[in-house]
């Protein structure tokens, strides 16, 4: 069940991995590119790093950008924390698999959260690394980029729907979507942290009644 739900995410991540592998060839050798996917496992951070390197940015600017992009992981971790009963050492292992998609699947799935995070994370990780390797080897899936880019919002609509059961929840979801959209148009530079800001803002007020 976890693998079935993860498949569309993993397929999309694999395609983006290939695009990353091909694009990063301009700033690194093949072994370094694959190593980056093996040890970083973050599309947002890795794409941003390559983009900044191409503009001539230094390591400090890249690390600061990565820190900002990663800040949303704090919220995802906090949202997952209460559902994980595992001891600290096991949570430290599970943390490796925490990305937007696996956090979404874990929070929306009725299956045990630790197991969902592990299996969905391993599946997405394999897709990301294998995709990167294909990109480094010269595969080109640039023609699919637009279609795959459309798959992510659709899947997040699905996860939002699965996580929302009440009228109050629907209103909060709609408010977060509108706020995020407006902020993304207004300040695209902080686009990656906007969903976290909007989600916390609409989740703060308690439920009525």
């Amino acid at each position: 069940m976890v693998l079935g739900a993860t498949s569309p995410f993993a397929a999309a991540i694999g395609v983006f991995g290939t695009i990353y592998g091909a694009g990063a060839s301009a700033v690194a050798d093949p072994a370094t590119i694959v190593l980056s996917s093996l040890v970083v496992f973050s599309g947002a951070v890795q794409f941003a790093a390559v983009g900044l390197l191409l503009t001539g940015a230094g390591p400090l600017a890249i690390l600061l950008t990565a820190a900002m992009l990663n800040s949303r992981n704090l919220l995802l971790g906090a949202a997952l924390r209460s559902s994980l009963e595992e001891p600290r050492r096991k949570r430290a292992f599970l943390a490796w698999w925490l990305v937007d998609e696996t956090a979404g699947l874990t929070l929306a799935s009725p299956a045990p959260p630790g197991r969902t995070l592990l299996f969905s994370g391993a599946f997405c990780y394999a897709a990301w690394v294998i995709g990167t390797a294909f990109g480094v080897l010269g595969a080109s899936l640039a023609s699919l980029e637009e279609l795959v880019a459309a798959v992510f919002p659709v899947l997040f609509v699905g996860l939002a729907a699965q996580s929302t059961r009440t009228r109050d929840g629907v209103l909060r979801v709609a408010a977060a979507a509108v706020v995020s959209l407006l902020l993304a148009f207004a300040v695209p530079e902080i686009r990656s942290v906007i969903p976290a800001i909007a989600a916390v803002a609409v989740a703060m007020p308690g439920e009525k009644g």
Partner: protein
């Protein structure tokens, strides 16, 4: 891209993932109730920002059509149905775009 930059990115990324998951104590009931309300809005936010490019422009109409089609069937709460509807919306927009 140097090895040291990759190591720095890896450490920063893992630290951000582990900080809350490993070191945060079990939240108090009010905080837990608030955190329980976060996922739906968070995913809606991710979907919404996907409709805007990093330069602040709108994504292609086909992406918007995919999301609108997905929203139409969101009440089913089925990831498969929502994904199928999204792909159908995307394809329909592409066909219409090619015709006109």
């Amino acid at each position: 891209m140097t090895i040291w930059l990759i190591v720095g990115l890896a450490l920063l990324t893992y630290a951000s993932r582990a900080l809350a998951l490993v070191f945060l104590p079990k939240p108090s009931p009010p905080v837990e109730a608030m955190l329980r309300r976060v996922p739906g809005p968070l995913f809606a936010g991710f979907a919404a920002i996907s409709l805007v490019t990093s330069s602040g422009a709108a994504t292609p109409p086909a992406t918007l059509a995919a999301v609108l089609a997905a929203l139409l069937v969101a009440r089913t709460r089925s990831l498969l149905i929502i994904l199928s509807a999204g792909l159908a919306g995307y394809s329909a927009a592409e066909v219409i775009g090619a015709l006109f």
